[in-house]
Every structure is written in structure tokens, then in C-alpha cells.
Symmetry: C2
Subunit: 418 residues, 2 copies
């Protein structure tokens, strides 16, 4: 079963919008035993016709996103109807739903939204609970091969996702098979080529049917194993993980913040952060995990020197002597956070986020990360990428990795008695 | 000049990685007067050959990302050389650079990285300062048409971006023309169909050569104007903006956080946040803007009730009486933040982030946002989407919009004397 994804929208090609649909749909399809064999983006307009005709010639399932709205650049519905030779008819029930949506906001829909109530003959209407444009599902049995399934979905993620979950996923699950067995080993600290040299030959020898892939990120490499059966992948992953030891920080979809929240919850440990250069990015990551409220006490974001003193008790003279970006201030921030919040683990970060280059002694990218718990205190100097978003990300990952390592206690040692 | 982007990598289609290259490259190309006419993603492997051959038949400039690494799934270099009929030769200088990179970490490169030192005949090598795989630039003048330009770039963003900036962008600027004039009016509070009804006919009548597009996000719609000359677009944007009034919160690439930092800097106003449900997301957004340190004092992230009392002075009895998610507690958080930090504007948020459904009285999605300054105090009840990331985003946008509106002062009124 060949599946293609066609994303429409000039904003995607002009660099104004990130294509988050491709990631979301790719992941959900794997759970249906399906893989996207090709993803294409074309601008609003006649290019959609060319790309959709090509996809119809190659694939059994085609998911099209975008171009169902009420405005003049929304042409997907008409193009699909034309290619599949279906007449459009007006569905008054759709228009009524749209009217109701507008009425709830005290508005009347303009005439232009009637286009959204046009339905190609034989299409199933996929109700949109979060916007005006309904989705459409067309089955095409012309020709001699297996029938083709075309899903037209709205562009906005908050409309597409609930529609896909409720109305498309069940259909695809029925068409697909058991979920594709994918296992990701997320590793930290080993260059990609070394990782391959270490694991690939033994894996290939023992699990010849497993597909092996790699994906490198700053300081990290994902080892990806894909196979037909969950059991084989399970054994292949265990085999590789045993070799790689604690370089593997996660298997599967877990991020560092998921792991930190999971470990802290299991340990009954409370966390707090004191952040200067990351400006709340560590706290934001931790609190993006459902259930974080049970283990995360809070954070102090201390951008100014005064706030470092007021909120964390960092002595002003310490800042004056060593500078705000220093080992000493990081340690004092962690100590202040630990003492004042009563957290079991406090993490503090101070650094130069860029893009300003900083000074020769304290260049952009420099960061001190301190940790404080009942059991120990540490502070480490890092050099991260000097551009602001990469810096904040890398620093937050490093801070989370410290928490991860501290939360995995050697057997027999308790962080503190509860 | 037709430009296509070909992204390679199974991780993109399995939903493991977000394609950030498409957005980055799309935006940079616009500055060179070029637009991506089609973007395609294919998995690692033979599909690359099919997709690259198709792109070569359609486009003048083809940018390929990924598949240049040292591992077995990296096949882009070989496929491009094959399609362009170039022999590969070994370049010892590339291998030496790779050896140096490894040596800096005290490592020796494995034999497999020699593949990265293979160069197709006639290709220019694009040095990689942030990784081992060099990029490649191939010009193809076979056939009768204009020559084709193929850029092979590494997949990791932190390798691709500096390489593109230094070595590809100047070449594309020379090939392209003046930047394409694009102007985005970011609007808030008007449904997409109403926006079109209001602006499109007058715009078309007056600026028939301008291309009009729309892109909807939760609560927001972008109006996109594209034209040949900067002057026309400038006038068309001013024409539409005059009609839309303060529904337009930005023109161009500025985010709400950029605007807030810019306005606060101009006003000499200092900001601080007190966040419960957003967990630092507002602070993280503000501090992602270069220069934020001059106007952002800091934040208190108070997830627990104790921290609300300790860090912000919210009376415990107030929390007991009204609940942590209440108008009263939001106002007390803002007041505490305002008084303790000395900020000119303090924003406080408390809400139910989901995915837990909450209670009937306080369901997931409920959020109170309070603002406090010398001049006024306000608190407003909101219902945001009940899923956690959308909730945090929508709440942070609403908080930033309050700051934006407060920082745009009516003429003649000063927030406080400086």
C-alpha cells in the first residue's frame, strides 16, 4: 500500500510556516502499518493539479492538506473533483454548520464561505469541529488496479489533527496492517561514524532483516531500527543497547524532559530551576510534560543582576568580582534555588546566549551549569553554539541530562530519605 | 528560474524529525528573488534517484539536503554523480580535515568516513566547518537549455545553515534577482472569510498585479501580499492596514515577542512575568529575542501553591478560598510580581493546561491572565485549546498581546515618568 502526502500552501514554500503536518501524519501512519513513500509541497494554484495527478498515478492512499478554506487561493476541492471526474453539489447541512459557528461569535458568514459547502459527488464529508472547512474522503475505483483513497484535509493543525484522529485514522487502520515496528535508540556523546562502526556489522550479522538508519543532532545521534515484527526489533534494540551502555539516553519517543519527569515522579523528587541565559527554556520544557506539576516546584528566571540577588540570594559582590557568567555565580544560583525552594534537585544556568559575540574571555556560547542536591553539588563549563536558539536548546538539553543522570541513582543509594 | 528543494531522510517521513530546512531555505531564497516551486521529501535509498531525476527535468536550481554522512544509508553523493555522469575521485584534503576534527576530540576516524572525501568530477567542494561531510556544488551544462545548478548539502541544520549562508547564498544571489517583495499583515480577531471579504475586492481593484494569500492560525490570520516591486507592495500593505486598524499586530516577520521587546526597549519599560500554567513559556519567548536582557528583569515560575505564596506573596488563604486557578490569584500574582521585581509591566498567568480534563467549573483550557502596571491593573478570563502545547502557545500569545497593547500608549499619555 503506497501512501503519499501532498501539502499545499504558498506559505510553506515562502518559508513562513513550518510543515508540522508531515511529522504528525508520518508518525500516525506508522501506527497503522503504513509509511509515507513521498511528501510533496506545492504552492496554492494550478501546481496542485499537476502534483495530485502524479500522486494518483503512483499511490493508493493520498493525503492532501490545505486549500479547503473560504478564500480565493483555496482550490484543492475543485482540482480533486476535476481529476476524479466528480461533479460538485451544494450541501445545505454544511452551510448550516458554518452559520452556527459564526453565530456563536455573533457574526454572519459572508457569501464566500458557500464554496466550503460544495461536495464532490460520492465523497464522504469529514466534519470539522474546529473550523468551517469540512474534509472530504473520495474513493476512486476507475481503472483496473486497486482503488485509490484520497483524503482532503484542512490546513490549520488544530482543525486537521482532531479530524484525522476521529475520521481518518480508523479508516487507515482498517486498510493498513499491524504497526510498523520502529525503535529509536537515542545516543549522546558518540560521533555518527563511530556509532555505525560499533553497532552496524554485529547488528547486520545477527538481524539481517532489520533496516538500520542514523540521524545526527548536536551532540546526539539517533540509531533507528525498523523491522516487520515488534519482537525482532525488541531483541535488536536490546542487543545494540547492551553494547552502547549509558550512551543511550532513551529508546522510543521519549525526550529528555519526558525522562526527567518520569524519573523524578518515580523517585518522589522535586525539581526547581534558576535560569539566566536560557530564560525559562528548561522550565518550559519540563512543564510541557503532562504531570510535571507533581514534581516541578517552579523556576526563577533571573535576567538582571538585581534579580539574581533578590530572588536567589546571590551576593552582589560575588557578581561584581567574578561576573554574572561565572562558575561561582552559577553555583550560588543553584544553592539559592535549592535552599529557597526546598527542591531535591536544583539546576542553575548562566551564560552568553548570543548573537552578540560577547568578549574574548566570555564569548557567546559560554555557559555554566550548576546542580545542587542534598547529596552533591557540581558546576560545569560548557561551550554551546553561539546562535541564540541553538544555544538555548543545547544548554537546556545539557541541564536536563544532568538531572537525568542524577535521578538514575546507583542501586542502594537514596538521594534523601523521604 | 525554477528552484526545487529535495529533502532526503527516512526520519522525515517516519515523523521523527521536523523539516525545518524547507522553512529556512524558502525564506532565504525569497531574499535572492527566488521561490521554491516544489519541495519533495523521499526516504534514504533508491527513491532519491527517481526524485532527483524528476527535479533535474523540471528545475534550474536543485537544492538537495541530507544523505552525505558517513553511514550506509547516505547515498546522495553517489546518486547525484551517477545522474550527472560524473566519476568520483578521492580528495585527500577533505579526509585530512575530517581527521583533524576527530583529533580535536581525541579520536581517530573510522575507515567509513573516507566516503565523505569522494568528490564527483568537476564539483566544487563546499567546506563544512561544523561537521565532517562537505557539501558539493555541481553545474550541469549537458543538453541545450540553460545550465542546471545542483547543491548537495548536509542534513544537520547546524552544518547546513552556516554552509548555506557562506557558500550557497552568494551564488544564488548572483543568479537570482532583487528580493521578491513579500509583505505579511498579521491580523488578530477577524475570521479568515471576513478578512477576505473586507480587503480582497478593494485590493484587487487598486493593485491588480499583487498576489493575495491567507494563512489562518488559532485566533489569527496572515494576509500575504506578493508583488514584483517593493514600492507597490508597500502601498498595497499600507492600504490594507489602514482598513484593518489595530487588528493588524505586525507587518513582516516580526512575532509578538519581537514587537513586545522592541516597544519595551523604545519605551524604556521593564517587564517581568509570573507564570503558573505556562511554565516559563512567556519568558522563554521574550528571552528568545536578542536584546531582551535590557528590558526583561525575570520571571517567577510558580507551579506549586507554596511557591505562589513564597515567591509572589499570594496569601495562602486567597488560594484556599478561590483556588489556584482564579481571577483573584491571577491578580495577586501580577501584583506580587509588579511590587517585588519593580517592573513597569507585570503579567501573571494561572490556568489548567491539560491534557487532564480538569473539573466542570475549571476545565482544561481555562486561563486567567492578569496585568499590572503603575497606570492600571486588569485580569481576564480565557478559554484556550485544552491540549497542552496549544494551550501554552495560545496563553503566551494572549499575554504578549496584552503587553503589546499596553506598550502602545495613546499619544500624550506616559506610562510613568522616567
Amino acid at each position: 500500500m503506497i501512501v503519499e502526502l501532498l501539502n499545499t500552501g504558498s506559505e510553506l514554500l515562502l518559508g513562513q510556516t513550518l510543515n508540522t503536518h508531515a511529522r504528525y501524519l508520518g508518525r500516525r501512519l506508522v501506527e497503522c502499518g503504513l509509511r509515507i513513500s513521498r511528501q510533496t509541497t506545492v504552492p496554492d494554484g494550478p501546481e496542485i493539479q499537476i502534483a495530485l495527478a502524479e500522486a494518483l498515478a503512483r499511490a493508493h492512499v493520498i493525503i492532501v492538506t490545505g486549500g479547503l478554506g473560504p478564500t480565493s487561493d483555496d482550490v484543492t476541492r475543485d482540482i480533486a473533483a476535476g481529476l476524479l471526474e466528480r461533479k460538485l453539489h451544494y450541501d445545505p447541512a454544511i452551510f448550516e454548520r458554518i452559520q452556527e459557528r459564526f453565530a456563536r461569535r455573533g457574526l454572519t458568514p459572508p457569501e464566500s464561505v458557500r464554496a466550503q459547502a460544495m461536495v464532490p459527488a460520492g465523497a464522504e464529508v469529514l466534519t470539522n469541529d474546529h473550523g468551517t472547512a469540512p474534509g472530504l474522503y473520495l474513493q476512486d475505483s476507475r481503472g483496473t488496479g486497486p482503488s485509490r483513497h484520497v483524503f482532503l484535509l484542512p490546513g490549520p493543525p488544530r482543525e486537521l489533527i482532531p479530524m484525522f484522529e476521529a475520521l481518518v485514522l480508523p479508516r487507515l487502520k482498517a486498510m493498513g496492517g499491524p504497526p510498523i515496528a520502529v525503535r529509536i535508540l537515542r545516543t549522546i556523546g558518540i560521533p555518527e561514524s563511530h556509532l555505525q562502526e560499533r553497532v552496524e556489522a554485529p547488528l547486520r550479522a545477527r538481524f539481517p532483516e532489520v533496516e538500520i538508519g542514523y540521524c545526527a543532532r548536536p551532540g546526539e545521534v539517533d540509531l533507528r531500527l525498523i523491522g516487520a515484527s515488534a519482537d525482532t526489533i525488541q531483541r535488536a534494540a536490546a542487543f545494540a543497547a547492551a553494547d552502547l551502555g549509558d550512551a543511550v539516553y532513551a529508546t522510543g519517543d521519549e525526550n529528555l524532559e519526558d525522562i526527567v519527569v518520569r524519573l523524578a515522579t518515580a523517585a518522589g523528587a522535586h525539581l526547581a530551576t534558576a535560569e539566566s541565559c536560557t530564560g525559562g527554556h528548561v522550565a518550559d520544557k519540563i512543564t510541557s510534560v503532562p504531570g510535571a506539576s507533581a514534581i516541578f516546584l517552579g523556576a526563577t528566571i533571573v535576567y538582571s543582576n538585581q534579580e539574581k540577588t533578590r530572588q536567589l540570594g546571590v551576593p552582589a559582590e560575588l557578581i561584581a568580582r567574578h561576573g554574572a557568567v561565572s562558575k561561582e555565580v552559577a553555583a550560588a544560583m543553584a544553592a539559592g534555588c535549592f535552599e529557597r525552594t526546598g527542591a531535591d534537585h536544583a539546576i542553575a544556568l548562566t551564560g552568553v546566549a548570543g548573537p552578540d559575540p560577547g568578549t574574548p574571555e566570555k564569548p557567546a556560547g559560554l555557559c555554566f551549569i550548576a546542580h545542587r542536591s542534598m547529596r552533591d553539588a557540581s558546576v560545569k563549563r560548557h561551550m554551546f553554539p553561539p546562535d541564540r536558539p541553538a544555544f538555548k536548546d543545547a544548554a537546556a538539553q545539557a541541564a536536563l541530562d544532568i538531572l537525568r543522570r542524577r535521578l538514575i541513582l546507583p542501586p542502594g543509594i537514596k538521594e534523601k530519605s523521604c
